[in-house]
């Protein structure tokens, strides 16, 4: 559909109003996500306060370089995402397509590194209920850390995968001319979600990869 024929849905007076409501709707969803991941991260800090030595000892086995590369990938993808939004808002469709493709590529790289890390974790016998084996000097509490690790990173990976699906949908809309300088709320809303997922990793990173490194 050419952008010139874009009309607001019947319940909205203008496209701008429709865009604002879409943004606010995403913020409501993100508020629920804040509580969801906030409770999860709070659980970690309770573990850490309750068993500081045991959690620090267990966390030493987390693959630091994987987590560090992944935080770099996600922070960079937030930059490319916002550049895609700016390009779409300015009507530069091919630039927006390019930045979106880069964001998708970075998201796929994140999942690739995460997959590699899971394989390394399996080889290291740290997967609870599957092949967990205590190492010499470790407390049984260390299994608690790995439960947190797989729940937190697994839920985050599901969010990244959902984000990638949304980005591919936005790319399709952009190519069809259904996002333009006159109405770019869909890409803006997906950008909010993507940057939020990035923010979650910002908080997960120190809890998993930096504990017990001294």
């Amino acid at each position: 559909m050419p952008s010139a024929t874009l009309r607001p849905e019947t319940q909205y007076a203008t496209l701008a109003q429709q865009g604002e409501v879409a943004q606010l709707g995403m913020w409501v969803f993100l508020a629920t996500e804040t509580l969801f991941f906030g409770a999860l991260i709070f659980t970690y800090y309770l573990y850490r306060l309750s068993y500081p030595e045991a959690i620090a000892e267990a966390a030493k086995d987390a693959v630091l370089w994987c987590g560090s590369v992944n935080i770099g990938l996600l922070l960079t993808s937030s930059l490319t995402m916002v550049l895609a939004i700016n390009a779409a808002a300015q009507g530069r469709r091919s630039a927006a397509t390019g930045w979106l493709l880069m964001t998708i590529g970075l998201g796929l790289c994140f999942l690739g590194v995460k997959g590699y890390e899971y394989v390394a974790d399996y080889s290291d016998h740290v997967v609870p209920a599957v092949n967990f084996a205590l190492k010499p000097g470790e407390s049984p509490v260390s299994e608690l850390f790995w439960v947190y690790y797989f729940v937190a990173t697994g839920l985050h990976a599901i969010h990244v995968t959902t984000g990638l699906g949304l980005l591919i949908y936005i790319l399709w809309r952009l190519r069809r001319g259904r996002i333009s300088a006159a109405y770019y709320a869909p890409i803006e809303v997906v950008g909010l979600y993507w940057s939020f997922v990035d923010t979650v990793w910002i908080f997960l990173y120190p809890t998993i990869y930096l504990a017990g490194r001294t």
């Binding site: 306060l49 560090s68 120190p206």
Partner: protein, 99 residues
């Protein structure tokens, strides 16, 4: 929709991205300084600052419509209750934290 996006230049976003990467470096550095639990406090503080940058710039929380501050703030408002009431319980337990 956000008027700012129509006029935005890439420069502030690239600067913010560089700052975020530098903060990751600082966070890693603090983890190797032998600060025990204080390292966790510093790392959480750095993460909170990074999140603020992402929220204000990349998620354009500082732009219109200002009503989104209310929506965005709601999650954190309830999080304060969740953390506060839970810690009230744990902090008043006898023998907690255990070693």
């Amino acid at each position: 929709m956000n008027i700012e996006a129509k006029e935005a230049s890439s420069f502030p976003f690239v600067c913010a991205w560089l700052l975020l990467l530098i903060l990751v470096g600082l966070s890693v550095l603090s983890a190797f300084q032998g600060l025990a639990l204080w390292a966790a406090v510093i790392e959480f503080g750095i993460a909170a600052f990074q999140a603020l940058i992402v929220f204000l710039l990349f998620m354009r929380l500082k732009g219109p419509p200002s009503l989104k501050w209310v929506f965005a703030g709601t999650g954190f408002f309830w999080l304060i209750f969740l953390y506060g009431l839970s810690m009230t319980d744990y902090a008043t337990r006898t023998g907690w934290p255990t070693k």
